[in-house]
């Protein structure tokens, strides 16, 4: 008997993406550029995060036409975003055959208390986190892959680093605890006990963890790998740079060879201007996307 949508099938899909780069694209042409550069998947969107910021208003699931066109254009997996808590946007994307859904803080949340119960879906989900508690809450809801949030659309790596370091430090701390301390820790960080016990025993998250939100250069991607990410999402960083083909190719190679610094130097030569980026202190509290999610 063949079983679809099981944990191993959904989490296994993310395992196959490890060491790779997932790129945001808004047209089939961009998807082809990403595939040719060696992306392991593309995220089909109507706008990249920096344009969502610029446009303001309510950001929703992309027009299905765009998602369909991207799916037709490439043979690598296609992901798409739905709003936090928007069950129907997720069902719509699932019905279209999208390979992975990102329940994403980049879009305007549809529910201010609850995320989607992702266990009831055949399609796997990726969700953002800023710390271990948030990661384990999403996994408890059925997320098959986690990404640290960073601050999307800023081209500024500082928040991605902060979140990755936070998760890694909390995992080390939980690993060093005695089992007696885990219930109190579970309460303190808002993480389900059983999953916390799993982290304690394994010394790692039960699912793959990518970095996202602010990666703009090959060195940024390599930095996140150095800090223990399994791979990277690059949103605005590629198609908002001066030469997307070159940036895409260089970021893919820097992710694979993240400790080959001479190579990263070569890859970084003459790339042209990266996306402009935003200094975080100029962002108002209500302009931050990473704080969305409960």
């Amino acid at each position: 008997m063949a079983k679809t949508g099981t944990d191993i099938v959904k989490r296994g899909m993310a395992e196959m993406q490890k060491g790779g780069v997932i790129m945001d694209v808004v047209t089939p042409e961009q998807a082809k550029i990403a595939e040719a550069a060696g992306a392991v998947a593309v995220m089909a969107l109507e706008r990249v995060p920096s344009d969502i910021r610029a446009a303001g208003g309510v950001a929703r699931m992309a027009d299905p036409t765009i998602v369909e066109e991207v799916m037709k254009a490439v043979s690598i997996p296609v992901m798409a975003k739905c709003r936090i808590g928007h069950i129907v946007e997720a069902r719509v994307l699932e019905s279209m055959g999208v390979d992975y859904i990102d329940e994403s803080e980049v879009l305007t949340p549809a529910d201010d208390k609850f995320h989607i119960n992702k266990k009831s879906f055949t399609v796997p989900f990726v969700c953002g986190c800023r710390d271990l508690g948030e990661a384990l809450r999403r996994i408890a809801e059925g997320a098959s892959m986690i990404r640290t949030k960073g601050e999307p659309g800023t081209g500024n790596i500082i928040e991605a680093v902060k979140h990755q370091r936070m998760v890694a430090a909390q995992i080390r701390r939980v690993q060093g605890m005695s089992e007696d301390e885990l219930v109190a820790e579970s309460k303190a960080i808002g993480a389900p006990y059983e999953l916390l016990l799993e982290v304690h025993n394994k010394g790692a998250l039960p699912v793959v963890n990518f970095a996202a939100g602010g990666i703009a250069t090959p060195a940024d991607a390599a930095l996140m790998m150095e800090l223990g990410s399994d791979g990277v999402f690059v949103g605005s960083g590629i198609f908002k740079s001066e030469s997307p083909e070159k940036f895409a190719r260089a970021i893919v190679q820097a992710t694979t060879h993240y400790q080959d610094y001479a190579l990263i130097a070569e890859l970084s030569k003459g790339l042209g201007t990266p996306m402009k980026g935003i200094e975080l202190s100029t962002l108002a509290e209500n302009e931050r996307m990473a704080t969305r999610g409960w």
Binding site: K3, T4, I8, M16, K18, G19, G38, V123, V252, Q253
Partner: protein, 190 residues
């Protein structure tokens, strides 16, 4: 015995762990110089387009091809099967083009159609093997020297040609070591 695990992208850590559980020494292969002193090579699951591209970018394609042509044992799982194949349906050219099989990519459908099942693989015994198929390919045609090791719903999903072995599914994702043992036996005899 030293097994190299191609580590350009994909599930290379899982393969490494299973081989080490079986007592083999392993090393990650990212550049041509990492191929030295190996007794066998594994091409893991991942994205075949990405792995194929990075093999070319880092001049690994030709040295791995030469090794394979000399009878060096190579195991490919999922994307690895595609990378080994002589023909890929719908693609202008193969990657390594070592194994006389024609593969059909994503032949079971997209991710929502991905599945797990218990598979009969006679060469490792009568107990069924837990097989995880993720956007998996299947072998549409096999050449003369190729032995079919397993079928799922009449589709060839495991094959061997001399010292080249390919699976459509992911033995690295389950705790079952039998297929890794099977490959190590081939390496020992090579």
């Amino acid at each position: 015995m030293k097994i190299g695990v191609l580590a350009l992208q994909g599930a290379f850590r899982e393969h490494r762990k299973l081989f080490e559980d079986l007592g083999a020494e392993t090393t990650l292969v990212k550049l041509p110089e990492h191929l030295e002193g190996l007794n066998g090579l594994v091409i893991p699951g991942g994205e075949s387009t990405t792995i194929g591209k990075l093999l070319r970018e880092y001049n690994l394609l030709q040295p791995v091809q030469s090794l394979g042509q000399e009878g060096f044992p190579i195991l490919g799982t999922c994307a690895g099967m595609i990378v080994l194949a002589k023909q890929i349906l719908g693609a202008p050219e193969p990657h390594l083009g070592l194994m006389d099989i024609t593969v059909d990519r994503n032949s079971f459908g997209r991710q929502r159609e991905s599945f797990e099942t218990d598979l009969d693989i006679p060469v490792i015994g009568s107990e069924l093997f837990p097989a995880v198929f993720i956007r998996a390919p299947h072998v549409q045609k096999v050449g003369e020297g190729v032995t079919v090791l397993a079928r799922y719903n009449d589709r060839v999903v495991a094959a061997r040609e001399d010292n080249l072995v390919a699976f459509s599914f992911h033995p690295e994702l389950t705790g079952d070591h039998r297929l890794h043992r099977y490959f190590l036996d081939i390496v020992e005899q090579a």
